[in-house]
Symmetry: C2
Subunit: 114 residues, 2 copies
């Protein structure tokens, strides 16, 4: 039942890299990698997870979420924008249709970026 562990193992295998090599790159002990993969130990701290995401070139948010961690950046958003906590309290009640509307709004902001 360790989503993160399984995912890590998969990524590592895909990239054909050993636990020792990965551990070196991340900056942790290789035995810890072993335990994370088997679910014996909980996922590492956020900075390590971000490094892993970089190494395997995956979205760090996704990896953090898989580790059941809230990206620290979110703290700023949640604590600084008043309406965000209110939004989060309602988020579980949104219907499909409502999510569609929200996604439309999100997409609008994405345009602004380029």
């Amino acid at each position: 039942m360790s989503e993160f562990g399984e995912l890590l193992k998969e990524l590592r295998k895909e990239h054909r890299i050993s636990q020792r090599k990965l551990a070196d790159m991340v900056g942790i002990d290789f035995t810890y990698i072993s335990k994370i993969e088997s679910g014996t130990m909980v996922p590492p701290a956020e900075d390590k997870i971000i490094k892993i995401a970089e190494i395997f070139n995956v979205d760090s948010d996704k990896l953090l979420i898989a580790a059941n961690k809230i990206p620290a950046d979110f703290q700023k958003v949640i604590t600084e924008i008043e309406d965000v906590p209110v939004f989060l309290r309602s988020a579980s009640k949104f219907s499909q249709t409502q999510w569609k509307e929200i996604k439309r709004i999100i997409d609008e902001t994405k345009d602004n970026e380029e």
Copy 2:
């Protein structure tokens, strides 16, 4: 600069209650309350903050946010609803108008409750 500390002191004063009494009710040492209020120490753990919110009859989310803590409940929402992290990444870019739309959607769900 300790938002939480100042807020706590204010609430406590309003309720005309001593640090010792409050500490007893919350289940922590009174000297800790003193340090929190002065900003010497960081706010207590989430469960203590929630107790404080109950004692003073204020919204616990607000108190947690003032303490720069993300309510643990949010973790479920953030990790379990796929679109929420995406939303949070965009949240800081929303315009007034966009927030108005979002609030409208939130209000719709509130109707469902009663």
